[in-house]
């Protein structure tokens, strides 16, 4: 399916960092071999804040993205600065449904000082998490290779261990998944 078109939206509360979003767009195009576009939206998801936790329900944001998805976009990735959670966990870096059309990634926990806290490091982390969550929408599950962007990361050290690219196995799985022939995981 070469006609995949990925849309990246900044949906955060602060102003968008255009340079960072552009970097993410370029890397997404490179890794997935798709055309990707950036768009700026005036609207923001509402009603996703859990007042008790002071965090946003990622499932709520995903629902909003599904509703707002432009007709031309086969995948839509929202990038936000609000802290995300799923009900059972204290936080998530991002979320996507397997084989879905939407994904969300948050910058809220990516600027910790584990990696020195420089903007360059947080930017690299964001790119990796964008690739990771989009990977899920293409049907990729977690990878055993800790350097692969599809490795499960539950802390910043894990994120930093990853590279902004897919390992050879995941590239093969991705192509199987996208060309439909796939029993990519022997399922």
């Amino acid at each position: 399916m070469p006609s995949d078109s990925v849309c990246l939206w900044w949906i955060g509360e602060a102003a968008a960092e255009d340079r960072v979003m552009e970097e993410a767009r370029v890397q997404v195009e490179r890794v997935f071999g798709v055309s990707a576009t950036l768009a700026r939206r005036a609207e923001r998801p509402s009603g996703t804040l859990d007042p008790r936790r002071g965090q946003h329900l990622s499932a709520g944001i995903l629902r909003w993205l599904v509703a707002m998805r432009p007709p031309g976009a086969t995948k839509l990735l929202g990038v936000t600065d609000v802290d995300l959670f799923i009900p059972i966990l204290t936080f998530v870096f991002g979320e996507a449904k397997l084989d879905g059309v939407v994904a969300v990634v948050s910058t809220a926990r990516l600027s910790g000082d584990a990696g020195g806290g420089s903007p360059r490091v947080s930017q690299a982390r964001l790119v990796k998490e964008c690739i990771h969550e989009l990977g899920h929408t293409f049907g990729l599950i977690h990878c055993a290779d800790p350097r692969c962007a599809m490795a499960r990361s539950v802390n910043l050290a894990h994120v930093d261990a990853k590279r902004a690219t897919l390992c050879a196995d995941c590239r093969i799985r991705l192509s199987e998944l996208r060309h439909g022939g796939g029993d990519a995981y022997g399922r």
Binding site: I86, L89, T90, K97, H142, V154, N155, Y185
Partner: protein, 465 residues
């Protein structure tokens, strides 16, 4: 961090039990991305149905649910799927519920909401451990496959040769003569050969020739026509006919009298016989496997057993050595028999302690594997825990003097004598019960008692040093 999502080529299966849909969905989504097969259940009853239907590696259960709560699911799950690891999820870190859950067999508990790192590590830990358990099970299975012929297990070199012979013999219809002491597994081997043979879809019929008076045995084997003798009110099929197309196992063939020996010779030579009171010979297709704990050769020499019948029976001779001559089989047999007994008795049995195994290996076993089985069965009944200890076995324990080293070698007969005396004491002089425990019949026990000059109320003065 290595993510193991498969064991033995099978996917790891996780069952999530929670009454809140959002919790089920988010856990499902999270675990699915690790490659696990995940299912959810909204309540305890659905969970138990899923547990019963399929195996699960990990069960994540919410503690507080309407109806059946997490603790009940945990308890039922331990019964239904003791191999599944149960993790309790709770909204509050109440120490007592956590402790209760762990006592009832939960692997761990998680307090909602979980730190993703905690959840991830816990699951990885469980999976890694299960992979290890699986590996051990697999290893044991491989070993067992090599050391078994159907239900018959043995690793002794002599028995391995028996397996080879038995496998080859199974493909033919030749008569087999199995010799060996009582309880060495003669009938079990006969059944295994039948199962291995092309006749396995036919019947396996066992007849003990020692148990019945000669005339009764005749009618048992050959059947009778109506009116053949007083009381024969209807025609009755004999065991030979019942075994048609299958295997006839003639146990204690050495005890058969002269008349029946002749009739059996005819069966083996012509595959025909007459029903009692019958006029037409009956044709049968049976493979005969005979067994005896006597020395048939000697019986022939002494003129008590027909030589021609002996040769007809002894086409493929198999000898099963007594257990005391293949002690290396004892651990394997204990493992195998405990597994069988646990199922039969509906009990959880983990195994025997190392010191109990030492006692088992050292015992003389005059009743061979049957006696070993009886001892284990009784031990399971009286053992307080799921691991059998020396005291549960009811066997003489090695005394301090015995293990002191450098002691006089003891003759087998002496060991047998002491062992029988011990069992008699244990049963309070009840010969039937003692015989059952020893795995021998009462007559044999009386003979041995006479031989060793033991009385029912044996005080065992000689052994009580």
């Amino acid at each position: 961090m290595e993510v193991v999502t498969r064991m033995d080529g099978k996917k790891i299966r996780v069952l999530v039990v929670d009454d809140e849909e959002i919790v089920r969905e988010s856990l499902l989504g999270w675990l699915e991305k690790d490659g696990y097969t995940v299912e959810t259940a909204p309540d305890g009853r659905t969970a138990l149905a899923r547990l019963e239907a399929e195996p699960w590696s990990i069960v994540l259960v919410d503690l507080k649910m309407p109806g059946m709560d997490g603790m009940q699911v945990l308890e039922e799950s331990r019964k239904l799927r003791p191999e599944s690891v149960v993790v309790i999820m709770t909204a509050y870190a109440t120490v007592d519920t956590a402790v209760t859950a762990m006592k009832k067999g939960a692997y761990d508990y998680l307090v909602k909401p979980f730190d993703p790192e905690e959840l991830s590590l816990l699951i990885l830990k469980i999976v890694a451990q299960q992979a290890l358990v699986q590996e051990n099970l697999l290893l044991r299975k491989v070993l067992k496959r090599e050391y078994r012929f159907h239900d018959f297990v043995s690793k002794s070199a002599g028995m391995q040769a028996v397996f080879v012979l038995a496998r080859a013999a199974a493909r033919t219809s030749s008569t087999i003569l199995i010799q060996g002491e009582s309880g060495t597994g003669k009938e079990l081997l006969a059944r295994a050969i039948h199962t291995e043979s092309p006749r396995s879809h036919g019947p396996f019929v066992a007849v003990s020739c020692a148990a019945l008076a000669e005339s009764l045995l005749e009618s048992e084997l050959f059947g009778h026509e109506r009116g053949a003798f007083t009381g024969a009110v209807a025609r009755r099929k004999g065991k030979l006919e019942t075994a048609h197309g299958g295997t006839l196992f003639l146990d204690e063939i050495g005890d058969v009298g002269a008349k029946l020996q002749l009739d059996l010779l005819r069966v083996l030579e012509e595959r025909t016989f007459d029903r009692l009171g019958g006029t037409e010979p009956v044709q049968v297709d049976v493979r005969v496997i005979a067994a005896t704990n006597r020395d048939l050769r000697k019986a022939v020499e002494e003129g008590r057993f027909r030589e021609d019948l002996y040769y007809r029976l002894n086409v493929i001779p198999v000898t099963l050595p007594p257990l005391r001559e293949r002690r290396e089989d004892i651990p394997l047999l204990v493992d195998h028999l405990l597994e069988q007994l646990a199922v039969e008795m509906g009990k959880t049995v983990q195994g025997v302690s190392a010191d109990a195994m030492a006692v088992l290996i050292a015992s003389p076993w005059p009743g061979n594997v049957r006696e070993l089985r009886n001892v284990l069965e009784r031990a399971i009944v009286i053992a307080p825990g799921s691991i059998l200890r020396p005291a549960d076995l009811g066997l003489p324990l090695p005394s301090a003097g015995d293990t002191g080293g450098g002691d006089e070698p003891v003759s087998l007969e002496d060991v047998e004598r002491r062992h029988i005396a011990h069992v008699l004491r244990r049963t309070g002089g009840n010969v039937s019960q003692a015989a059952r425990l020893l795995g021998i019949d009462r007559v044999t026990l009386y003979n041995k008692m006479r031989k060793y000059q033991l009385r029912k109320d044996e005080e065992d003065s000689a052994a009580g040093r």
